[in-house]
């Protein structure tokens, strides 16, 4: 027993000692608390960050030409009451701040602080240009936004960033774009093929930066004409995006769900059951009124009879007919804009590969035309030439779109057309092919048509008062901007064009079109103090609405908006 006791005490002692040794051993804690797969800032490849942010911000953006924002410039029609429903529209905000601005700022930070920062100037410059584009869009949506205190390095991050005035943001964006261009050095490395936008061609980045400056300068011309003119002064046509090959654009891809064309994606899901999206009345009318060859590429004709409605029994063909914004007027009072009486977007927009531009050459020319017309840059007499070039480039882009769709249409149509019960595969394929052929025929656009249009169409010649000429420019510009909805909306807010008809019954907005997006509700709770300060800056309570104007929205000369939609008992009248 005594011997046992000694043994046990020995064992117990050893156990105690081993446990105590174990406890004192906390040296490996730091290692233990670091994930095995952690990638730290000293090893991260900037190329990987840049590729992703380019693809996400351009391909995975909400700009698909059939969204909500397009309602506000006649570019799209999203149906039901969507454009007028109040509430957060925080998509752009969340993507900018939750992703793009952090990653772009990080590239800029790393490229300036790494040992080899001198060799990273081009990578830094491209990131600065993209960041300027991202923030320009965000401030255009929301007005005053956090900028100078946003997206700082992780060790200096400010969790409740203050809101900067839009004017200050614009001044800084000009500075950033200018500095980025200045630091570009063709002797230094670029992103190369990781630069999925320009393949590492830094000259094109210079053009993009300058073209963005042109865009932003024009945008503020009603708010600060002097600054607009100053910014435009050192831009020459040579260093702007002036050809299709300069265009800043990516294409949707089928590889990943996020990179799919939204329309193709809906089609994949619902196939022949797909309820197709509608083009808006404004968009259709601009093209229809001028016999624009692009109309048939973009849209289908309305297809169904409407025999159920008294007075319209005999109408069995509506041709190209856009859908107006009706608000929520009672159905029985409305002019019958039923499913089958208005145009659908054409199947060409449903192909997997669609161009998603952030800046096209046509926009440069429309901008130059306006700048010339209003004496900001160049001579008034240059306006017509620029205008024509803009239209030509825009037309040719649509021709390219049509040509590009040819190879992909069979797949699209096989999704639209269900194989009938008992129909053989061969018969089905033949039916699809026949359908594709007839589609390509009815939606065809040719270079001849384009040349003919430029040579003969009345709309290609600027005429009338300055304001009338502006309307002509912006109408064409909106079509050319498709599918950049945010840009279209900014143009409408700035100039009041194109004119949009809105039903008078939408309670939240009283028949008006939004002038900005409210800051997300979450800001009120999560960044309360700065939110309140920002609210005071724009006029206090009740101002975080869609009707509050942003800083550059100061055109006192805008046409009156909106008109009313025709009722059943009234003839169609184009009012202001």
């Amino acid at each position: 027993m005594i011997r046992d006791m000694k043994l046990y005490i020995k064992i117990a002692f050893m156990l105690l000692v081993s446990l105590l040794i174990n406890i004192s051993c906390t040296d490996d804690f730091a290692e233990l608390n670091t994930p095995n797969d952690l990638i730290t800032s000293d090893v991260i490849n900037l190329d990987f960050l840049f590729t992703r942010v380019l693809a996400e911000s351009i391909v995975h953006s909400e700009e698909n030409g059939m969204g909500t924002t397009g309602n506000y410039c006649g570019m799209s029609y999203s149906g039901a009451n969507a454009p007028f429903v109040s509430g957060d529209n925080s998509g752009v905000w969340n993507r900018t701040y939750g992703d793009y601005s952090r990653n772009l700022s990080d590239i800029i930070y790393l490229a300036s602080t790494r040992e080899d920062s001198e060799d990273l100037v081009n990578k830094k410059a491209a990131a600065r240009i993209m960041k300027a584009w991202v923030f320009a869009r965000t401030t255009d949506w929301y007005g005053n936004i956090p900028y100078s205190e946003s997206s700082l390095d992780i060790t200096k991050a400010i969790s409740t960033p203050k809101y900067d005035s839009q004017k200050d943001i614009y001044i800084d964006l000009f500075k950033e774009l200018k500095e980025a261009v200045a630091e570009i050095d063709n002797s230094k490395a670029s992103y190369g093929s990781a630069d999925i936008l320009y393949g590492g061609d830094m000259d094109k980045w210079v053009k993009l930066a300058n073209s963005l400056r042109l865009r932003l300068a024009l945008r503020i011309r009603y708010a600060d004409e002097t600054l607009a003119a100053t910014e435009m002064a050192d831009l020459t046509e040579a260093n702007l995006i002036t050809s299709r090959s300069d265009d800043a654009k990516l294409y949707t891809r089928s590889e990943f769900t996020d990179q799919l064309n939204d329309q193709y994606s809906s089609l994949l899901q619902t196939k022949s059951n797909l309820a197709k999206r509608k083009p808006p009345k404004t968009f259709i009318d601009i093209l229809k009124d001028s016999n624009d060859p692009r109309l048939k590429v973009f849209a289908d004709t309305a297809k169904a009879s409407f025999p159920g409605t008294p007075g319209y029994e005999s109408i069995d063909f509506f041709g190209y007919r856009g859908t107006p914004l009706l608000g929520s007027a009672p159905v029985q009072q409305k002019y019958p804009y039923g499913d089958q009486t208005t145009s659908d977007w054409s199947d060409i927009l449903y192909t997997p590969t669609q161009e998603l531009p952030i800046f096209n050459a046509s926009e440069t020319y429309f901008a130059l035309a306006e700048a010339a017309l209003f004496g900001l840059k160049g001579n008034t007499s240059d306006a017509q030439g620029y205008f024509e070039k803009g239209i030509r480039l825009a037309q040719e882009r649509v021709l390219e779109m049509y040509e590009g769709a040819k190879s992909e249409l069979p797949e699209v149509e096989s999704l639209f057309l269900a194989q009938g019960g008992g129909e053989s595969d061969a018969a089905y394929l033949a039916r699809v092919d026949a359908h594709v052929e007839s589609l390509l025929e009815s939606h065809k656009i040719t270079q001849t048509e384009i040349d003919d249009f430029i040579a003969n169409a009345a709309v290609v010649t600027l005429s009338g008062s300055l304001e009338e000429q502006l309307e002509q420019i912006i109408n064409q510009k909106m079509i050319a901007l498709f599918p950049q909805e945010s840009e279209g909306w900014a143009e409408w807010r700035r100039t009041g064009y194109p004119r949009i008809l809105v039903g008078d019954d939408n309670s939240a907005l009283a028949g008006t079109i939004p002038r900005r997006m409210p800051w997300p509700t979450s800001e009120q709770t999560i960044n309360g103090e700065q939110y309140q300060a920002a609210l005071e800056a724009i006029g206090g309570d009740g101002k975080n609405t869609r009707l509050t104007k942003v800083w550059w929205d100061q055109n006192t000369n805008r046409p009156q908006h909106p008109g009313t939609v025709e009722w059943m008992e009234q003839p169609w009248v184009q009012t202001n």
Binding site: Y8, T51, I158, T160, E255
Partner: protein, 1182 residues
């Protein structure tokens, strides 16, 4: 049926002898009074003195005189007494013997004293002894059984007034030699003492009755240290076998429902097999888990939560795969003890910060030989509250027939054609007055000419038919065996449950082996291995997701014939989309598969080394390990891009937790008055988890679910590990059994904290003062009175990896170029521990020999340095920031009342009530941020999120209120709709004002009836069932205000009838009564369309008839001729009905949280319908 081989018998005898020996010593210590060495209580007639003054007294008179002054009784035959004999006595202080001897001489009688009886007889012949004093003992044997008829070992059997006695053996049998007039007192911890007069009996079988109030209750506290309840300086509430009787639910936490003050148990409304949320004394952590630590047989187990995140509320359709505690077989549980405050849990450290639930499983200890226990039950689950669908209006808008449909021609006539979209039910009456195109075609009817159908309502209860009766069958067989050195219990459990949703099944298996052995006087071993397997099949999807049948029902057109939808599925087995529905519910439950399997081992082994009678060392290693796999699949053609070409997701998770403890225990009586217990210990805890997931899309061959059959496979992985080292001590000093002082201290080193802050210490002190004993108060009214006070701190550590930041790669790429992204979380390099500081005072009062007991506690706790990944304004460029700053405060009261209002031999009525109220307050976040979103519903149009806001209670529901004027009238827009305010405000709070339980137990002989009521007052939630059914016009409540017919008999439009109660704003700024009549969608749906969150917040108060159990326990005597030693039958009803709630109009149960993540109790999201359960239970042993 007992097998007793000889060796076993010998060992058992040995053990019995030791046991008896030990018991006798103990009893002597506790009970010994001034014993003269005599057996029995009687004194000899020679030792009893009386005063006697009698003249000419008859014998009878003399006897009576003696009787009046002593305890003696004379026993004689009247007729044998000579009436002639008259005697005189004039003596003071004379012994009774002397008197009797005199009588013997005079009257020729002899006397024999047997104990207290003096037998009188004739003295037949001289020489006979005339006075004999005999103290005659009788042998009494018998059996002490517990409430179930099981032998109760170690029960004390004491002769009243003497302090001597015996204890029962391992089978509960006892044998005692007592005076035949003795009264035996049977007692055992936890049972009511019983006094039985021996009388003429030689056999006394007694069944002990549980003491509801348990005066000297022994409770198991931290690290398995057994304490007398009165010694505790903090609140702990134990549930013994009585509270755990009857099978209720396959999740053991249901035992706690409404039984323990301060404990809120909410079951996830995700169908059977889902998780449970247990919160003790309110939510103390803003972002972390607020669930207690579960400690099974001394070893903490992993209570993982698989219920999905709050984001599952919208869209993704997550499944609740159950929680860690849900694996434990309820029928293996012997007792549960809830340690509530930090003082009670301090020794468990960080992980006990939210309270600890100690679970003791059954062991073979204390039952000699081999015994078998069988427990079987069958329960049925049926629909309870069910959403109320309207049956009067069909698809469309403007209360107007089907005007929004387009038309198709049949036989030259145009008929409305119902589209496939989600058609809102704001159309005309479903009265059959019109016909529409019949879209409900079977496959063989497709391609035929179009036909029409009447536009009519479907049977009102058509949705109910989708559900089935759930059935649970569960069986557990346990074999126990013990001898004097070893004991073991082996149990095998099996349960299979089918839920109310078709194909939903949960199967559980458990094998548990627990044993202990004593090598010699010093060394003993104990161990347990528990294997648990849980299999789930087709668990229903949560949230407003297309995969949730309840969502599809909530938004469908009310003219949809569900019979058709079902038949169509059965005929084609294919995905179809009936008009107005996203998914056919039958397709969901049959073709979109999900299943899961978890294999889990929980075990421990421990060794105890007893150096002497006061010092021992225990070493223990515990392991909890599980491997789990989840599988989901979609057939080719399912909706959605990700799965349209077939998809499967397989994920494998493993997790391991290892606990190693070493404890040195000293328990020494320092003097007669002082007793000291000191425990020094050390603990190492390591945790490791690894998840691997493969998301595979685009199958090569349809319906083959093997990863390699897919073209697009996306793997992902997650690994987490952490480690904690601790040393701790606890000291308990007891003075005279009425004043107790406890001190604990613990230091933790955690790997998850900042490298310079990874060590933290926290102490506690608690005291208990039993004033009734200290002041020696009259215990007839106040039987026990105790005051307790404690002060404690508990530190808590963090999740791993909050101190680092980096970049992540993603699966996606563009044109083959890789993607990387910077993490959006700002880490905290110097992360410190959280610290809870609390104090509590309480009292424990027992009245009238425990007929009434009252336990009250007030506590106040604050948790500071909260570790949370605080979501910050994303305008900062980051989504969240790890902070170490928040503070939350909880204070509250807990009251437990026990009473036995009525008690006779046969009938007994016990009442147990508890009440608790907790008030929380978020004192601070990080100084700049004022609110933290606990639950993000990720709903852009309107939110009703759950927040922790500075200055407010935890769990405010934040959303939009109705726009009202100064007088509080709702403002109606020019368009005739309600509007919302432009900024969010507080719409409610998820926490109840108070909760309570009332348990009534009636027992009559072997019958018992148990009725448990569960009370919850207050606590709001957002109902998404109400929201969707309001938005889509499917709710019965949306009938009000709609135009019953659109046109009169002449075909003229009739005006709308619904005028919203409210005012309209006049151009001059005044308000006038709203008079505008509007169509149904403006009257109802616009409340949802316009995002008026206030409309959908519902008061969650309720009173639930939680359970009713009617049981019968056979008396041991009735089972004598059977092989059984005990048999109990019961009928069980659970969640039978709500006696009170605010949700009847909508048909939603007030407890319908979809999962158990923080704040989720504030949301009902198209919950699996509530159910009631009833069934039978048989428990027998032999």
């Amino acid at each position: 049926m007992k097998i007793r081989p000889l060796p076993l018998l010998i060992k058992i005898m040995k053990l019995s002898i030791y046991g008896v020996f030990l018991q006798i010593i103990l009893l002597n210590l506790i009970l010994a009074n001034d014993s003269s060495g005599q057996k029995g209580s009687s004194l000899s007639v020679k030792d009893v003195f009386i005063d006697i003054q009698l003249k000419e007294a008859s014998l009878e008179k003399i006897f009576r005189a003696i009787e009046s002054q002593t305890e003696y009784n004379f026993n004689y035959d009247k007729f044998e007494l000579s009436n002639e004999t008259k005697m005189n006595f004039h003596k003071k202080n004379v012994s009774v013997a002397e008197v009797l001897l005199k009588i013997s001489e005079s009257a020729g009688l002899k006397f024999k004293q047997v104990n207290k009886t003096i037998n009188v007889d004739k003295l037949n012949r001289s020489g006979q002894q005339s006075l004999e004093v005999v103290f005659e003992d009788v042998d009494i044997s018998g059996k002490v059984t517990d409430e179930n008829g099981q032998g109760l070992p170690g029960a004390s059997v004491v002769i009243k007034g003497s302090g001597t006695g015996t204890t029962s053996d391992l089978d509960g049998n006892f044998k005692v030699n007592v005076p035949n007039d003795a009264v035996l007192v049977f007692s055992f911890v936890g049972y009511l003492s019983q006094e039985i007069a021996v009388g003429n009996r030689s056999v006394i079988d007694i069944q002990m009755v549980l003491d509801a109030t348990q005066l000297d209750e022994i409770v198991v506290t931290a690290f398995g240290i057994e304490r007398e309840k009165k010694a505790l300086g903090y609140s702990a509430q134990e549930l013994g076998s009585k509270d755990l009787s009857g099978a209720r639910d396959i999740n053991v936490t249901s035992y706690l429902t409404a039984k323990v003050a301060g404990v809120q148990v909410s079951k996830s409304a995700s169908g059977t097999g889902g998780s449970t949320n247990v919160v003790i004394r309110g939510n103390s952590s803003i972002s972390g888990s607020n669930q207690p630590l579960y400690v099974v047989d001394g070893v903490p187990i992993i209570n993982f939560s698989n219920s999905g995140s709050g984001s599952g509320l919208s869209g993704s359709g997550e499944h609740d795969y159950g929680d860690g505690i849900g694996d434990i077989n309820p029928l293996d549980v012997q007792s549960m003890n809830v340690l509530k405050g930090p003082a009670a849990t301090a020794l468990y450290g960080s992980r006990g910060a939210n309270g600890v639930v100690l679970i003791t499983t059954k062991s073979g200890k204390g039952k000699k030989g081999i015994g078998v226990e069988i427990n079987s039950n069958v329960t049925f689950e049926k629909l309870n509250l069910f959403p109320n669908y309207q049956n009067q209006f069909g698809s469309g808008y403007d209360d107007n027939g089907v005007a929004s449909f387009w038309n198709e021609e049949v036989d030259g006539v145009q008929y409305p054609f119902p589209d496939n979209g989600n058609l809102d039910n704001w159309g005309g009456p479903l009265d059959g007055s019109i016909k529409i195109i019949d879209r409900f075609l079977m496959p063989d009817e497709e391609g035929l000419p179009l036909r029409t159908m009447d536009y009519v309502a479907q049977p009102k209860d058509n949705v109910r038919d989708f559900f089935q009766t759930g059935v649970t069958i569960s069986n557990t067989i346990a074999i126990t065996g013990a001898n004097d050195n070893s004991s073991m219990r082996l149990s095998v459990g099996n349960s299979s449950t089918s839920g109310i949703t078709p194909n939903h099944e949960i199967k559980k298996k458990s094998v548990s082996f627990r044993g202990s052995t004593k090598v010699n006087k010093m060394l003993s071993f104990e161990g347990k291995v528990n294997y648990l397997r849980t299999e789930g099949d087709q668990r229903p999807a949560n949230g407003y997701s297309q995969y949730n049948p309840m969502w599809n029902f909530a938004i469908m057109s009310r003219f949809t014939p569900l019979d058709y939808v079902k038949e169509y599925y059965e005929e084609t087995k294919s995905y179809n989309r009936p008009p107005g529905m996203n998914y056919s519910p039958w397709y969901i439950v049959n073709e979109i598969k999900n299943n899961d399997v978890r294999d889990r081992f929980i075990g421990y082994s421990s060794a105890n080394l007893k150096f002497n009678d006061w010092l021992s060392l225990t070493g223990r290693v515990g392991l909890d390990f599980y491997a789990e796999s989840h599988f989901q699949s979609w057939r080719r053609g399912a909706r959605g891009n990700d799965q349209s070409k077939g998809r499967m997701i397989e994920s494998n998770r493993t997790r391991r937790e290892l606990n190693a403890d070493l404890m040195l225990t000293a328990n020494k009586e320092l003097s007669e008055d002082f007793n000291l217990v000191v425990v020094l210990g050390a603990n190492t805890w390591t945790s490791f988890s690894n998840n691997m997931q493969w998301d595979a899309r685009d199958s090569k061959v349809d319906d083959v679910y093997q990863i390699s059959n897919f073209l697009d496979v996306r793997p992902s992985s997650g690994l987490a590990q952490n480690e904690m080292q601790s040393v701790f001590m606890t000291g308990q000093l007891a003075y005279k059994n009425y004043l107790f002082l406890d001190v604990t201290g613990r230091n933790d080193w955690s790997s998850t904290l900042g490298v310079n802050n990874n060590s933290f210490f926290y102490p506690s002190v608690s005291t208990s003062f039993v004033f009734t004993e200290a002041l020696d108060l009259d215990q007839r009214i106040l039987s026990l009175g105790k005051i307790r006070v404690s002060l404690a701190q508990v530190g808590a550590s963090a999740d791993p990896y909050l101190t680092t930041s980096g970049y992540s790669f993603s699966q996606e790429s563009y044109n083959g170029k890789p993607y990387a992204s910077k993490s959006g979380q700002i880490p905290l390099f110097d992360l410190k521990n959280e610290l809870t500081t609390s104090w509590e005072v309480g009292t424990d009062l027992r009245f009238f020999q425990n007929r009434i007991s009252l336990d009250m506690t007030y506590y106040n706790a604050k948790t500071s340095n909260q570790i949370l990944a605080l979501p910050i304004s994303n305008a900062s460029g980051y989504s969240s920031e790890v902070i170490n700053a928040g503070e939350i405060q909880n204070k509250g009261i807990e009251i437990t009342l026990g009473a036995t209002p009525f008690k006779t031999e046969a009938f007994r009525w016990d009442v147990n009530a508890n009440f608790s109220a907790n008030r929380s307050k978020v004192v601070e976040l990080d100084g700049t941020v004022q609110t933290y979103k606990i639950l993000n519903t990720n709903d852009d149009s309107w939110s009703n999120d759950v927040h922790a806001e500075v200055g407010a209670p935890y769990g405010n529901i934040i959303g939009f209120k109705y726009l009202r004027n100064e007088e509080g009238r709702k403002i109606v827009s020019a368009g005739g709709e309600y509007q919302r305010e432009s900024e969010v405000s507080v719409l409610g709070n998820i926490n109840p004002d108070w909760i309570g339980g009332l348990n009534n137990t009636f027992s009559y002989k072997g019958f018992s009836m148990n009725i448990l009521l569960d009370f919850v007052q207050g606590g709001d939630f957002t109902s998404h069932t109400k929201r969707w059914m309001t938005q889509k016009g499917t709710g019965e409540w949306t009938v009000e205000g709609r135009r019953p017919v659109a046109t009169d008999s002449d075909g003229n439009q009739l005006p709308y009838t619904g005028v919203l109660d409210g005012v309209v704003l006049n151009p001059d700024g005044t308000y006038s009564e709203n008079t505008q009549a509007v169509p149904g969608q403006k009257y109802w749906a616009s409340r949802a369309w316009n995002g008026i969150g206030e409309e959908f917040v519902i008061d969650g108060s309720y009173i639930s008839l939680r359970e009713v159990i009617l049981g019968y326990t056979f008396q041991p005597a009735m089972l004598k001729k059977t092989p059984f030693t005990s048999l109990n039958l019961s009928v069980i009803g659970r969640n039978l009905m709500y006696l009170h709630e605010h949700t009847t109009d909508f048909g939603i149960a007030p407890e319908s949280a979809p999962n158990t993540s923080g704040g989720a109790s504030g949301v009902e999201a198209l919950a699996v319908p509530s159910t009631r359960t009833y069934g039978f239970n048989v428990k027998l042993t032999f």
